[in-house]
Amino acid sequence: MEERAVRKLIENVRVGKLPRRSFVQKMVALGISAPMASMMLMHAGIAQVVNAPVYKPAKRGGGGALKVLWWQGATLLQPHFAAGTKDQEGSRIFYEPLAVWDNEGNLVPILAAEIPTRANGGLSADGKSVLWKLKKGVTWHDGQPFTADDCVFTWEFARDPATAAVTSGIYKDVKVEKVDSHTIRVNYSRATPFWATAFVAAEGMIIPKHLFAPYIGGKSREAPNNLKPIGTGPYKFVDFKPGDIVRGEIYNNYHMPNRPFFDSIEMKGGGDAASAARAVLQTGEYDYAWNLQVEDEVLKRMEAGGKGRTHIIPSGDIEFIQVNPTDPVAEVDGERSSIKTKHFAFTEPAVRQALGLLADRKGIQEFIYGRTGIATSNFVNNPPRFRSPNTKWEFNIDKANQLLDGAGWKRGADGVREKGGKKMKFVLQTSVNGIRQKEQAVIKQACQKAGIDLELKSITAAVFFSSDVANPDTYGKFYCDLQMYTTTMTQPDAERFMDQYLTKEVSSKANKWQGRNICRWQNAEYDRIYAQGEGELDPVKRAALFIQLNDMVVNDGVVIPLISRPRVRGAALNLVTTLSGWDLDFGQLQNWYREA
């Protein structure tokens, strides 16, 4: 969609002809995340209308215990050392950032008094600084007041290379200065279109200066508060056993009135997704379970028990197939799948197109994923009501056959196509996972009908998703023809997501296969447009550029997007949660309550 068309849509929102929600959904259909769409509107001066979540309880406490199951248990409770979302969720019970993302992509203030906008002077015209006003009257769990000093300290703590904080990527390029006791200014070195990174969401949790100050730099691992967090959150720390359990109790001086509802919270770890689903949906032993990677059929059967139900939350995660443009067998300079080689079949656009036609997304969605997956043609998400005008998917075995015939791949005596003496025998690899193995079988069947012989390979997830330099089966190495997995959008901004196709990010031996461009796609035009998008301050122009990038990748056939994967959570029937696909599950934990 062109920039002009997008601007017209924004104008329609401003004058009230187009509901804000519809605009966001249209943008999401084109591949722009909801938060980015929301930022576009904010930039245009259209105030965000945050529908405050319904919160019925009229007093604090009295709700009993909230028991949640995370089948990957939290192993540490310091948000700036968190190795994965499980640790971030565990920390989020106690710590809070300035603002979080809600499901519509709006920013919701938590420790901030209000969200900075151009209208209230929070955002500077040149896009280089943001002024945050902090909430007054907030106290840490030990009674000390929360002030701007804590924000500045968090920034210094995270950016210090000696601390080795995992969040340092965000904080090392900004400068935070204290304006007064409850105001800070975040300065960027250059115009930053997506400014809501520092102090926002999972990487933005603020730690208390008065407790962490003696433990900066190299001594950061010795801080006792790494294991006994003191934050500003709705629950105070009680107990922590790494990998097993996190416990908190109600904080009576929490800064939002009538919250939290529950008197205590218990986050239990371990086990697997299916038994977690059982514990919430069938036996009601637990109130909430995270990430139910279970087939929808099974979930439906469990829900029939009437104790709980599944929540499906749209997010940016996408299950897709990568097509290797290099040769996975030939070894060049000690590495296979080197960019110096070419694949004998996949360098032909007709072959890639044919492969795209052989993915039965509808079948996979209906019979395997059910509610937990949505067929898509975009690399960056796609709700079912809107079809993107630029990309579309099709499942057509005959057409695939025609394309391959036309490209000179003739069927041999055994039914497998060949050209120039090389047969179309490919290896499709993925992780060990009931759902994935079924997907593989569906694709293999379709390929067989088109004369392509697929060998299916599955690797245990702990190995496939690792970055072992010595192991040939990691997804970074891509030592096969095709591979399939879900790539997660860890941040609402598409910039960090689309860097997966830059030439400079190509995964190879030189960078220990840690480059983000695993499918080894190289395209100068893509690099150019991406660089443009990085520096583009106008969010509408930027969005148009990212739409273009999405289309390039998909239309070239180097990736075959299959299923947009929303988050699947299980909750007790009477539990009211505020879940968002763009932030942590616990992003608005203070609003959770149980209906009578």
Binding site: L69, T75, L76, Q78, F81, A83, G84, P161, A162, A164, A165, V166, T167, S168, G169, I170, K172, E203, G218, R221, N226, L227, D239, K241, P242, G243, D244, I245, R247, E266, K268, G269, G270, G271, D272, S275, R278, A279, Q282, T283, E285, Y286, A462, F465, S466, S467, D468, V469, A470, N471, T490, Q491, R496, D499, Q514, R516
Partner: protein, 319 residues
């Protein structure tokens, strides 16, 4: 016996050291980086990972790391987990009570089943009781624990809703209520493990008893006019149990190792699940500490088993 004991202890020390060297080398050479989860996270810059590796001394040569580890171990510092940034001994101690309670109870249950059933089967071989017991024993140790665990969960938790199936190590009630809740949640895992173990021990007890029961002195005892019960319990069982005692003693280290599969199914925070998590995440200090303690316990219990055997059976002499 004193000199025998001393000799064994002297031999044990180098064995323990040798084991630690092998363990350490294998772990050091195995591919796998405890910070690889960070590697796939685009928000974490490469310098942070490099910094973490330097901090934990992962880039030093193997022998240097080994001696550093050994020195620390001897001083009582068991190391620092890479993943949870907690002292390893604290991690292990958190899990020991639960492991001992659940796994220990299951071993006890196994004994309580195996002894009476095995003795009675041997006393009346090929009777109905013996045949049924043997069949059940075969079935018992043929069915894997993950299968019986799931069966029990489906029956008692889901169908009947009698028992909870997620183990909670922090029950808030106290006193009698605490014991009741603990019983309710432990009964299934203990049964799963106990029955499995008990099945194989039953057969062992039975065959040990049969070996002894046909010896001449038993016939003598019977012909002396002693009651059958006295003959069996006082003369046969005592002698038949000698090999069984050694078998049980050798099984004791397994209590420490936990039962990985059962712990996964029931979400029991035991040492087995700690070990498997640490292996999957390449958390070397935890793996070293747990396997090293396990190795020491094996050596210790081997020694105890040998001593017990010699003490119980006067025919054995120490040389």
């Amino acid at each position: 016996m004193g000199s025998y004991l001393l000799r064994r202890l002297l031999v044990a020390l180098p064995s323990v050291l040798g084991i630690s060297v092998v363990l350490f080398t294998v772990l050091a050479l195995a591919p796998g980086d405890p910070f690889e989860e960070l590697a796939t996270n685009p928000n974490v810059p490469a310098e942070v990972r490099a910094m973490l590796r330097i901090k934990f001394g992962l880039d030093d040569p193997i022998w240097q790391r080994y001696f550093r580890w050994l020195g620390a171990m001897l001083q009582g510092d068991w190391g620092f987990s890479f993943i949870s940034r907690v002292d390893v001994d604290k991690l292990i101690l958190q899990r020991v009570p639960v492991t001992l309670a659940v796994i220990g109870a299951s071993q006890l249950l196994a004994l309580l089943i195996a002894l009476p059933v095995g003795i009675y089967s041997a006393a009346k071989p090929y009777s109905w009781f013996d045949r049924i017991a043997s069949t059940l024993a075969f079935v018992g140790f043929s069915l894997p624990t993950f299968f019986t665990g799931l069966l029990l969960i489906l029956l008692f938790s889901i169908k009947l809703d009698w028992l909870p199936f997620v183990f909670r190590s922090d029950i808030s009630e106290t006193g009698a209520q605490w014991w009741w809740q603990q019983l309710r949640q432990s009964i299934m895992p203990v049964m799963v493990l106990g029955l499995f173990q008990g099945a194989s021990w039953t057969r062992y007890v039975r065959s040990a008893m049969l070996d002894v029961i046909r010896l001449d002195y038993v016939t003598t005892a019977r012909s002396k006019g002693l009651k059958e019960r006295v003959v069996v319990m006082k003369h046969v069982v005592r002698n038949a149990l000698i090999p069984v005692v050694t078998l049980v003693a050798l099984q004791m280290p397994a209590v420490f190792g936990g039962a990985i599969i059962t712990e996964q199914i029931f979400r029991i925070p035991g040492i087995g699940s700690l070990l498997i998590d640490a292996i999957l995440r390449n958390d070397t200090p935890v793996i070293m500490a747990v396997t090293f303690v396990f190795a020491c316990l094996v050596i210790l219990f081997n020694l105890i088993a040998d001593l017990l055997y010699g003490w119980l059976d006067p025919r054995i002499s120490y040389r």
